[in-house]
Structure formats: C-alpha cells, structure tokens
C-alpha cells in the first residue's frame, strides 16, 4: 500500500524536476544560443544574403585578420604573464609578510574588480599620455619639444593597462589559496633550514598551483576578449580581434567579415575555457 504510494509518487516528482530545466534553458536559448547561431550563420552568407564560403577562406588568410590574431594572442599571453607575476608577488606579501593594514590593502585591491576597466586606462592617459603628468613634467624640466614617453600608445601600453586591471583576478584566488596553507608547514620548513625563497617554491607554490591555473586561465579569457582598454588607448597598429570585429561591423558595415572573425574569437574563448576546465579538473580544483 505505502509502497505503491511511493512508487506512484516518484515519477511525478521527476516530472516536476524535469520541468524546472525549461525556464533557464529557454532563457539561455533566447539570449545566448540564438544570437550565437545567428552569428555563426551570418559568417557563411554575404551581406546580401547569398551563401559565400569562399569569403571565409579569404578572411582567414588575410593580413588584417592574422595580424589581429597574433596581436590578440601575444598581448593576452604577455598580460597574463604579467598578472601572474605581479599577482603572485603581491599575494605573497599580503599573505605572509605581516604589516599593519595588509587586510585593508587586500580589500582595496578587491574593490578594483568592481571598477569599469577603461577607468584605469583613462588614469593611465592622465599619467603617461602625451599630455599626461609624466610627459608634461619631463618636457618642462628638460625643455623638450616632444613628449619623451610614449610607450602607452603601443602594445606595451595595452599590456600594462591590462595587467593593472586584471591582477586582482589572480590575487583573489591566490589569497584564498594562501590562507589555507598551514602556517605550521611553513614553520616546519623554516626550522629544517629552508630559507624564504625555498619555502615559497617548495611549500607555498605547490599549494597555489590550482589557484594560479584558474586565475591565469581567467586572465587569458578576459584579455583575449578585452575591448575597452584597447579601444581607449587607441594605440596605432594595435588591432585585436574584438577591435577588428567592431571596426568591420560598425565602421565598415562588413557584417560577414565581422561574423567570421567573431566565430574565431568565440572558438578561441571556448578553447581557453575548455583548457581551464580540463586543468582545474585534473588538479581537483
């Protein structure tokens, strides 16, 4: 009797359980997969609506696309490397060198994540731009006719701005990982004769590898898709994939070309994301 009731009840519950997948799935389809599909489709049709696969090959072999791809990847890799190094050093100091106010500083850096990315770029322009404080000061001090510092308007400017903006994304998981490192292990290592550098390499870093991989992949993803910073700095010749898509779609109205590049950009992002999941999964993070 009761058994029958239980058996009878079970399918009903599964039924309602299944039902709940519908709203998110529908929302996802409407807001995410449908536009994605539109873009993918548009990549194979020219702007008058005719199928045009040859255009795909042409774009993929074009100079402007290859340049943008190389720019994107190299800037992203350089910025991520910079974020990893700066983030690691900062996190080590914040977590292991006790100084008054270290928690406040950590929280301050945390709030950085909340700010719009172009804000930093704007600040950089004020500081290092042609008419910025550094150049103005130098020009006046040495009576120079032209601004002497112009790294900002190169790939380096973009990398520097991205490092500044995205380091907190490394810092946060690293600080979390470091807070879990048993201070007893560090002390044990120290008593056994290990100096600070060895302790960092052999005791602290192994515990932080999942955090480094997770933070690093996130940085790669974000910098590959970065738009605001690159646009804002407006460095000559520094065209990345997102900027190229913007230019083709909005400025030149070449929608098919824009969509072809967008598909590549999406594939790159998803590939990086897959890599991140794979690495995180293998490390049990």
């Amino acid at each position: 009797m009761s058994e029958a009731a239980v058996i009878g009840a079970r399918p009903a519950r599964v039924e309602t359980g299944k039902f709940w997948i519908l709203p998110p799935a529908a929302l996802l389809a409407l807001l995410f997969f449908y536009p994605l599909a539109l873009i993918a489709r548009q990549a194979f049709f020219d702007d008058s609506g005719m199928a045009n696969v040859a255009e795909v090959t042409r774009v993929l072999h074009s100079r402007f696309f290859l340049n943008a791809l190389i720019n994107t990847v190299s800037i992203s890799v350089a910025a991520t490397a910079g974020c990893l190094i700066v983030g690691l050093v900062l996190a080590l100091i914040l977590a292991f060198v006790p100084f008054p106010g270290s928690r406040f500083v950590a929280r301050l850096i945390d709030t950085f994540i909340a700010l719009p990315t172009f804000l930093v770029t704007l600040a950089f322009t004020f500081l290092y731009g042609s008419a910025g404080m550094l150049n103005a000061g130098l020009m006046e001090a040495f009576s120079l006719p032209l601004p002497p510092v112009n790294f900002l308007y190169s790939s380096w400017g973009v990398v520097l701005a991205e490092v500044t903006v995205y380091t907190p994304f490394i810092l946060r998981p690293l600080l979390a990982a470091f807070s879990l490192v048993d201070r007893g292990q560090i002390e044990a290592a120290s008593v056994l004769g290990a100096r600070p550098l060895r302790i960092v390499r052999q005791v602290i870093l192994p515990a932080a590898i999942p955090a480094l991989i997770a933070g690093g992949s996130l940085c790669l993803l974000l910098t590959v898709n970065e738009f605001g910073i690159v646009l804002f700095i407006g460095a000559k010749g520094v065209i990345t994939l997102p900027l190229l898509i913007y230019g083709k779609a909005i400025q030149e109205s070449q929608y098919q070309v824009a969509c072809i590049i967008a598909v590549i950009n999406i594939a790159l992002s998803l590939g990086l994301f897959g890599l991140y999941r794979f690495a995180a999964g293998r490390l049990g993070a």
């Binding site: 007893g184 292990q185 002390e187 120290s190 008593v191 056994l192 060895r198 052999q202 005791v203």
Partner: protein
C-alpha cells in the same frame, strides 16, 4: 644549493652531531615574551642539559608553546637570551638554528611523498645525494616507516603521519628536538604506544636533547628526565621527574602532576635530621616527610591515592578514617572517595575486601610516612 647554504654554525654542529651522544644544552637566560602589553612569559631562566628530555607541562595558555617557539625562533623575546650549545641564537632566524620541531597537527608537506618530506631539511641544507638517501633510510627505519616511503601524507593514519614528522625532524640530526603536544591529536591507544616509542627513540639516540611540551602529565611522567611546570607564564616548579612527583614543592605541582590528596594539617614537630615531621590532622597525629616546616606551621599533607590502603600493611603506620561517599569500579582499579574531616580523599586500589563497602560506611585508611610529603600552601592563591 651547495655547501654555501650552510651557515658556519650548522656545518659545525651537523658534523658534531654525527658523533652520537653529542647533543646541545638549551639555556633560557631571563627570557620574557610579551604580545603588546600582555606578558605571556615572565623572565624565565631554565637549563636543559645535553641529552635530557625536559617536559614542560601546564594548563592551556600557561605559555608552554610560547617558550618552545622562542627556542625555535618564531617568537622574539622581549628580553633575555637563548643559547643552544655555545651559540647565542636569540638573533638567529629559525633556519640557522639547527633544530627539529614536531607539532600537534604534523604539518607534513601534503604534496610530497614521505621520503621527500624526510629529505626536505637535508636538501634545504645542501647535503649531497648519497648522504640524503642514507639519512632518509635511517630516519624512516628509526620510526618504523620504511615501508611507507613512497606514500603521500594523506594516505597515512594520524599516528603514521606523526612518525613521519618525527623522522623528518630527526633526519637533519638536530641539536635539539622540539615537540609541541606531538600526541594530542591521536587517540588514546595510539598515544600510549607512541609515548613508548618516543622513549625507545631516546634510548637509541641518547645524545638528543628534547624539549617536550604537553598538557598531559602521563606523557611527561613517562618520558621526562626533568619536568618544568608552567603556570600563568612562569615556571612554578622544575626538577627531576621522580622527585617532583614524590616531593611536590607546592600545591599546584602536587595537583597538576598526578592526583594528590592534600590534607590540611598543623605541624606539631619539625623534621629533625633524617626523621619525619609530625603533623596534626584534627585529633590524629601523622608522620610525614617534611621540608623546613617549624612546629605550629599550617601545611598540606600530600598523599597519592594509590598509596592509601584499606588494610593495615607493614610500615603503614599512619591511620586516618573517613566516611565512604562514592565507589567507582574500573576493572583494574577501584576508586573510592571518602570524606575525611570535610576533605574529599581519593583512594585507588587494586585490592578490595571481599564485599564492596557501601556508601556511608566509616572506613580506616592506612599509609606509610615515606609516601607522604608536606606541601606549603601556595602563596597568594
């Protein structure tokens, strides 16, 4: 890392330690420690002889860990000096002190195999491969963990992890081994075995100086050559283990180290020469080993529960009586609680009269003067 990783003192001491029996002494010279205005260690002067096991015991928060961490170099003394052997280590960083340390939660490196954990210190000190291999084998053999060299710490039980932690500390041939509650995380059965194994370890390495911090008096009584009892950041007594147990110099020591019955007495006759003092408990006069009490002094007569017997045996010339309050039978031992003139007196005995006495019965208690001592009331407590 090469020989340059050694400091002058380390090279010398590691070589010296190769000769078995060459341990270092540890000397606290008026060492005090404060956190802000909060003094947690009052000026402490204490010497641990080479090859000695000193157990530092005391209640939680009494400053034991602080004293040990001052030796390790993690706590900076506010005043005083710490010497290990001939070296003043007060200003040396931990990694130049040549010590071994084992803590309660093992603190093994989780991503390293057992053998790499044990090799860690030697690698850090730049020892060559052959020596490392030999020492790792030795150290793991000493703690009976040779079969587990390739395991990761998480694949070991708590007791096994603690053995590895001990092997890791021993592999560097430390001048002094610091143990901070090393067995407190283990369950009772394993803890008993480990205490015996640490005792055996010290028999095998008689030159090793050990500072053993614990709140467990059984561990201290079993292992230590000497005991220092800490209370509120001060050493309230310090001496050879047996002596401290038999003749506790104050009430706190008597009660912290083993169980003690303390009967309030008035000294009637001082202990002259080698004889016993005589003290009055109510109308009863008792003979007791005394110190320097004078007739008329108020004092406490200390008698351990296992030294009280219900029957008159040879030499048990002291006799008191009390009302039986509680009886706890625990297999090997039976614990009785009696009321003797308002003082609760515990008796632990292996032998009982045929019939278990009932609560409310008045029972006589016999004990030998040699098993007693007079303990002064703690001043200002």
């Amino acid at each position: 890392m090469s020989a340059a990783a050694f400091t002058g003192t380390n090279v010398m001491d590691i070589d010296a330690a190769k000769v078995r029996g060459a341990g270092s002494n540890v000397h606290f010279d008026k060492v005090s420690v404060a956190y802000g205005a909060h003094v947690v260690l009052h000026p402490l002067t204490l010497d641990i002889a080479p090859g000695e096991i000193l157990a530092m015991i005391g209640p939680s928060g009494s400053g034991k860990t602080t004293a040990l961490r001052a030796v390790a170099g993690f706590v900076r003394p506010a005043s005083g000096r710490i010497r290990i052997g001939a070296t003043d280590v007060t200003d040396l960083p931990p990694y130049e002190r040549g010590l071994g340390m084992v803590v309660q939660n093992y603190a093994l490196f989780p991503h390293m195999r057992v053998e790499d954990n044990v090799a860690f210190g030697l690698r850090a000190q730049g020892a060559d491969r052959a020596l490392i291999a030999e020492r790792v084998r030795d150290a793991l053999g000493t703690v009976g963990m040779s079969a587990f060299a390739k395991r990761l710490p998480r694949e070991l039980s708590g007791g096994q992890q603690q053995r590895v932690a001990i092997a890791r500390a021993l592999a560097v041939r430390p001048r002094v081994l610091l143990l901070d509650e090393p067995l407190s995380a283990l369950d009772a059965q394993i803890r008993r075995n480990m205490v015996e194994e640490i005792a055996k370890l010290h028999r095998d390495l008689p030159g090793l100086t050990i500072l053993y911090v614990t709140h467990d008096q059984t561990e201290a009584l079993t292992l230590a050559d000497k005991i220092a009892i800490m209370r509120d950041g001060r050493v309230c007594s310090h001496g050879p283990t047996g002596e401290l147990y038999r003749r506790p110099p104050n009430r706190f020591t008597a009660e912290f180290l083993g169980r003690a019955n303390l009967l309030p007495v008035t000294v009637v006759e001082a202990a002259g020469g080698k004889g016993f003092a005589r003290a009055a408990l109510g109308d009863t006069t008792l003979a007791s080993a005394g110190r320097d009490e004078k007739a008329g002094d108020r004092s406490l007569l200390c008698i351990r529960p296992q030294h009280l017997s219900l029957t008159d045996e040879g030499g048990h010339s002291n006799r008191i009586s009390g009302l039986l309050r509680e009886v706890h039978w625990q297999g090997e031992l039976t614990h009785l609680v009696l009321d003797v003139d308002g003082t609760a007196v515990r008796v632990s005995t292996t032998r009982l009269p045929i019939a278990l006495p009932e609560a409310g019965t008045r029972l006589p208690l016999f004990f030998a003067p040699a098993d007693t001592s007079l303990v002064p009331e703690d001043a200002g407590v």
